[in-house]
């Protein structure tokens, strides 16, 4: 039996009080809380294991190198990649996308096209604007519909021989929409184009199989998966990663350096210049172990129940409208209340111990399209409960009353 109460025992922060109220944490799309084993592993690393990786002959360096590489193996299994060296560690989703956008900016030419969508997080938009600026390629943007779905007919029309890369989000962080990425990948591959899926909002909420999806690149952040901040993943097919030029130069990513010429290391090191977040990567394995122990499908099922429950309860509140009403949604609800500013609502909920996100959620084009200056957003994780949602809905009503 799935029990969020049991799961909560492993998340110490969920016991805290905020403004004399028990914390209700509903900002999971921004970052999730950390499992006890993740926290313990970080401190144990610095207490007992700290040393740099891939460089030393000594005991500690071997130990941390082994553990670091064990996480890579875990990630490989978690997303079902074919090879371990297809998993590149980065600082996070943003870093993964910047890596790819930099490398692509070196191979794209004038006349080439990159396709993104109107619902992208700025992290999957701005790097491509920069990439197209540098390479003189053209950026095409798939519009979204009123319910917050991709306009698929536009996408089909724009896909062409000129398309070199499609970069789309798996799940929208401001609307909750789950995009039909299987179909999108299939359509993309009917041309010669490659595809990157931004999985920041999906990795903790959807079962992943990059081989079955046949996706070319996929990225996500550990901190949205109950893991540490400052750790991310870029998955790429071996052949493509080998073809791309490296991003940053430095230690670790080289095979041989003379003062004029350097040859690059093999994958994955080619893309991992410098000392990474070693403690974070090692602790990330614990987060993956936790997700696999509970089962991402079970988590999703629970979050879907919360999503439906909260949607119904919110819809009962007069003057409240949910922004993002796609039939397939993840555990994210954005809403506005007419006549009430999201900032005021957020301030009062905070005083009542409820952590939500307000603003544009790094998706200003979405706000513009939906004709709002911002929204209030609640987002769920595996440890949230119906009781928390009941309390939150009461608090929202109370806040609306104060502000009306």
């Amino acid at each position: 039996m799935y029990s969020p109460e049991n799961i909560r025992k492993y998340f110490p922060i969920l016991d805290s009080e905020v403004n004399q109220h028990k914390l209700v944490y509903l900002d999971n799309a921004a970052t999730t809380q950390k499992h006890q084993s993740v926290i313990d592993t970080v401190s144990q690393f610095y207490e007992k294991e700290n040393s740099n990786i891939h460089r030393g002959v000594h005991y500690l360096s071997q130990l941390s190198t082994n553990k670091f590489e064990q996480t890579r193996e875990s990630v490989k299994n978690f997303i079902n990649a074919q090879h371990t060296h297809e998993v590149i560690f980065t600082k996070g989703t943003t870093d993964s996308i910047n890596l790819l956008a930099f490398s692509y900016s070196k191979i794209l030419k004038k006349g080439d096209e990159v396709i993104v969508s109107e619902m992208e997080h700025h992290s999957n938009l701005v790097p491509w604007q920069m990439c197209c600026d540098y390479s003189q390629a053209t950026l095409k943007v798939i519009p979204i519909t009123n319910s917050g779905e991709l306009d698929m007919s536009f996408f089909k029309k724009e896909l062409s021989k000129k398309t070199k890369l499609v970069a789309l989000t798996h799940i929208s962080n401001s609307l909750g929409t789950i995009n039909p990425i299987e179909k999108i990948i299939e359509l993309t591959h009917q041309t010669d184009a490659k595809i990157l899926i931004d999985g920041a909002q999906a990795a903790a909420h959807a079962k992943l199989d990059v081989q079955k999806l046949d996706v070319d690149f996929y990225c996500f952040s550990a901190h949205k998966l109950y893991g540490p901040t400052g750790v991310g993943v870029l998955y790429g097919k071996e052949k493509l990663l080998n073809m791309l030029p490296p991003y940053q130069g430095g230690g670790e990513m080289i095979k041989d350096v003379s003062i004029h010429k350097t040859t690059y290391a093999e994958l994955p090191h080619k893309f991992e210049a410098g000392t990474p977040n070693i403690a974070g990567v090692i602790a990330f394995k614990k987060a993956i172990d936790f997700i696999e122990e509970i089962g991402v499908e079970n988590m999703k099922e629970h979050e879907d129940i919360l999503l439906n429950y909260a949607t119904l309860k919110l819809e009962e509140i007069p003057n409240l409208s949910i922004i993002g009403t796609a039939p397939k949604k993840s555990g994210i609800i954005s809403f506005v209340v007419s006549g009430i500013h999201h900032y005021d609502l957020g301030l009062i909920l905070d005083k009542l111990g409820v952590a939500i996100r307000t603003g544009h959620h790094c998706t200003q084009p979405v706000m513009k399209k939906m004709n709002v200056s911002g929204t209030s957003r609640i987002s769920f994780a595996c440890y949230n409960t119906k009781t928390e949602l009941d309390y939150t809905v009461d608090c929202i009503k109370k806040a609306i009353k104060m502000l009306s």
Binding site: H341, Y343, D344, T358
Partner: protein
């Protein structure tokens, strides 16, 4: 005679001290926000927007009888409440006074503690912009 900035500030502190809990303080701020007179749409332009606030804030100033008069608005009601307080203290004062005043009262009502760093930054940019207006008028 116009009350001094310090006196009005103290008055506001006294008013806030009447309330024991945050709900009443917030209610009071909301009421202040509602009492702020509507401003003419012509002031709600890009040039008057203060950056660094989480909500939109427009601030405009003019000089009347050697005094600086502020006109401001926000789309969020609590922010309007804070603006209303600042206007009550600073609007109608001499430029010189506005530039040199220290706004102790803000610390005394505990508003800064109520506000997170990002929100406090917004408040500070608001005050800074008011002082910049005053400076511009002083040199005229």
């Amino acid at each position: 005679m116009q009350d001094s900035i310090e006196n009005i500030g103290e008055e506001i502190v006294d008013e806030f001290n009447m309330f024991e809990n945050w709900i009443d303080k917030y209610d009071y701020l909301i009421d202040l926000g509602k009492s702020l007179p509507k401003i003419d749409e012509k002031y709600k332009v890009e040039d008057n927007i203060i950056t660094g606030c989480q909500s939109q804030v427009w601030l405009h100033a003019k000089q009347e009888d050697n005094k600086v008069v502020f006109i401001a608005d926000s789309d969020a009601i609590m922010t309007k409440g804070i603006i209303a307080m600042l206007i009550r203290v600073l609007s109608g004062q001499k430029a010189e006074k506005i530039i040199n005043t220290n706004l102790d009262f803000i610390n005394k009502i505990g508003l800064n503690e109520q506000l997170s760093q990002t929100r406090a930054n917004g408040l500070n940019s608001m005050i800074k912009q008011m002082k910049i207006y005053a400076l511009a008028f002083k040199d005229k």
